[in-house]
């Protein structure tokens, strides 16, 4: 499966007619949204917490240079190394170089969206290092050679029957007649197979949810424990992450954690939160001997000081996806990008270029639910509007839209003509209506497939307003 954000419309059309995807997407409301709502209610003063989270992220972004330097100093002081990557290519090369120096042939991986963003796995495969995804969802989509379809639930688009089929096809050394129906059986099979991979891996790669400058630590959140086995069992641990993840200190990270897990899965805290602070101490019996952090820019610093800057506050909880009517209709793969849903729509034009990802900010009803649930108050629709304006200015907007807007502008600039035309349209709609509803109009066939439109009841707004004055 190749990722192409330009094919959003075609992919979306296919997704809308995929019955198995409809079942999976139905779980957004019943599982994620409901869990978050309950966790927010349990917490108490959620709005004060959100405001604190926003302030912490804004402070970090305003001091990004000094915090990154402080972070680097403290990682080095604890025996680790920090690497800087301007773009995806540099990041891939740095990771491969570290792995080659460690003599690594196989590498276990904790879930990392930055790894997807820089397309690390195919690069490692091509260079003789076998990457093994260990987050269950990420493992499933790796076996299927698919990208993840959701920021925190990579196999969100699948049902358990799909997973069973994938396991039967991939785990050919196991008894073909084994029972593989219940979720418990699927989880147990992956647990057993992956434990062996953890034990034999030469290196481990994880992401980071936060980097803390004052301590030089990376903070990682998981529910499965796979991130920890990835860090602790191999000799070399690489943290691969976006450079915007840095915050001032662990205390700030602790506040953001309260927002992150409640917004993501509706948990007060995830099963595991790990503060990873350099390599093992000389007298410790486990933990990595080499500790590396790869800081990836890949378009992030370009967003600083722009109208889209606030998107860098994002802590990747996926609440905006879980509450988005567009994501709920088409799923993640439609976006053809690592970041999907509203956060993808606000981030992708910045990271990939407006020319590549301009369809994403248009895939929104502007209902505003994403901004309401965002734990760090990113004004997502405002940022999407910014990208729409850039699209229009670059001449990338569809011709039908430019023509339509042009026609509207022609009338809007001529008020008398506008009123006259509006009156005619109102009359025409009334004439076309059946039982007070308009059921179809020329050129708008698709729009009317699933909706109708109330017929105008009498005079135009302008006429009513004038009468009232």
């Amino acid at each position: 499966m190749t990722l192409d954000p330009r094919a959003f419309r075609e992919a979306g059309r296919a997704a809308l007619h995929d019955p198995s995807l409809r079942i999976a997407l139905g779980r957004l409301k019943t599982h994620f949204a409901l869990g978050r709502a309950r966790a927010v209610e349990r917490y108490g003063d959620w709005e004060a917490l959100r405001e604190q989270g926003r302030a912490i992220r804004d402070y970090a972004l305003a001091h990004l240079d000094t915090l990154l330097e402080e972070f680097e100093r403290n990682v080095v002081a604890r025996g680790g190394q920090v690497h800087w990557a301007r773009d995806a290519k540099e990041a891939r090369e740095i990771v491969l170089r570290i792995l080659r120096e460690a003599g690594a042939k196989s590498v276990t991986k904790g879930k990392s969206m930055v790894s997807e963003e820089i397309a690390l796995n195919p690069y490692l495969d091509a260079n003789g290092v076998e990457p093994v995804e260990t987050d269950l969802g990420e493992y499933i989509v790796q076996l299927r050679r698919e990208p993840p379809s959701h920021i925190i639930a990579p196999a969100f688009h699948l049902n358990k029957e799909d997973v069973a089929k994938t396991f039967r096809e991939a785990h050919t050394a196991l008894d073909p007649d084994r029972p593989l129906v219940e979720r418990t059986e699927l989880v147990a099979e992956a647990r057993a197979l992956l434990r062996a991979r953890f034990e034999s891996a030469d290196a481990g790669i994880t992401g980071a949810n936060f980097l803390t400058a004052e301590e030089g630590a990376a903070v990682l959140v998981t529910n499965e424990g796979n991130g920890d086995l990835t860090r602790l069992l191999p000799k070399t641990h690489i943290v691969l992450t976006g450079l915007e993840k840095v915050v001032a200190n662990l205390e700030h990270a602790a506040v953001l954690l309260r927002l992150l897990t409640r917004s993501a899965t509706g948990q007060d805290i995830s099963s595991y939160v790990t503060v990873m602070n350099g390599p093992r101490a000389p007298d410790e019996s486990d933990g990595p001997q080499n500790f590396h952090v790869v800081l990836v820019d890949n378009g992030r610093t370009r967003l600083l000081g722009t109208d889209a800057e606030e998107v860098l506050r994002c802590i990747r909880c996926a609440a905006c996806l879980n509450h988005c009517p567009i994501y709920a209709a088409v799923g993640g793969h439609t976006y053809g990008a690592t970041y999907t849903g509203p956060i993808g729509a606000a981030l992708n034009p910045g990271l990939m270029g407006v020319g590549v990802a301009h369809r994403h900010p248009n895939a929104s009803t502007f209902c505003g639910r994403c901004a309401e649930v965002c734990p760090v108050k990113i004004p997502l629709p405002t940022i999407m509007r910014h990208w729409r304006a850039r699209e229009y200015a670059s001449g990338l907007a569809p011709k039908s839209m430019t023509a339509g807007l042009g026609a509207w502008a022609f009338f809007a600039k001529r008020p008398a003509l506008y009123r006259f035309a509006a009156g005619i349209v109102a009359c025409a709609l009334k004439f076309l209506a059946r039982n007070g509803r308009v059921h179809s109009l020329p050129l708008l066939h698709n729009w009317f497939l699933v909706r109708d439109f109330p017929a105008p009841q009498g005079k135009t707004f302008h006429a009513l307003w004038t009468a009232r004055q």
Binding site: A24, R27, H31, Q52, Y59, A62, D65, L68, R78, W84, A85, R86, L136, G137, I140, A153, P154, F156, V163, R183, V187, R191, L194, F198, N223, E224, G225, N226, D228, R231, L232, L233, L243, H252, A254, Q267, D268, I269, S270, S271, Y272, V273, T274, V275, M276, N277, P279, R280, A281, D283, E284, D286, G287, L295, D297, T301, R302, L304, G305, T306
Partner: protein
């Protein structure tokens, strides 16, 4: 220019506005940290038992294993080897790292009432990987070590030094990756039992 210099220069060229440090924040908390700990740990699928003192640990461990029809074998890390293990005859102790079906004891120096969380700083005598290798973790914590918030634990540890690995553990390992439905025991322990020493 190196990538590092390039990136830092790009940040400095674009940084626009001054932003003040955020005000200090204190998460809302119930009055009693131990009671809150029990409530939250239980909600996170941990089994919590209160015991009177340290001497009851071996017997409690033996009972937990028996209740699950598990063999009377427990893996004991160096920092738990001095417990009065002889008070539970028939309970075998292993010093090797536990496997995915084994039971292991873990001493938690701190707990967090707000979320029912155990805090494990890694140390020579407390290997971090055990919390993820075992199938059944039996944690031991003193009631007086249960603080209210994660920030309180961080402050205590910072007073000396942060360990290379600091694990916060809340309930057993879990996944929701298949149909968004909770399954316990993804990679780490399938069961987490917590013994709270009250004396």
């Amino acid at each position: 220019m190196s990538a590092r210099e390039d990136i830092l220069a790009a940040i400095r060229a674009r940084r626009a506005k001054a932003v003040a440090a955020p005000p200090s924040y204190c998460a809302p908390a119930p009055p009693d940290s131990v009671q809150a700990f029990v409530e939250h740990a239980t909600r996170a699928n941990a089994e919590v038992r209160l015991i009177a003192n340290e001497t009851e640990i071996p017997q409690a461990v033996a009972e937990l294993l028996r209740a699950r029809n598990l063999p009377a074998i427990v893996h004991v890390p160096p920092n738990a080897s001095n417990l009065p293990w002889n008070s539970a005859p028939g309970l075998m102790r292993e010093r090797a790292a536990p496997g995915p079906e084994d039971a292991a004891v873990a001493i938690a120096p701190f707990g967090i009432g707000e979320t029912g969380t155990l805090a494990y700083p890694s140390a020579t005598d407390a290997p971090a990987s055990w919390h993820f290798r075992a199938g059944f973790e039996i944690a031991v914590i003193r009631a007086e070590d249960i603080l209210m918030r994660m920030e309180d634990v961080i402050a205590r540890l910072k007073a000396t030094a942060l360990p290379p690995t600091l694990n916060f553990v809340t309930g057993p390992s879990r996944t929701g990756d298949i149909e968004q439905t909770l399954e316990l025991g993804a990679h780490g322990p399938k069961v987490l039992a917590i013994l709270i020493i009250q004396d």
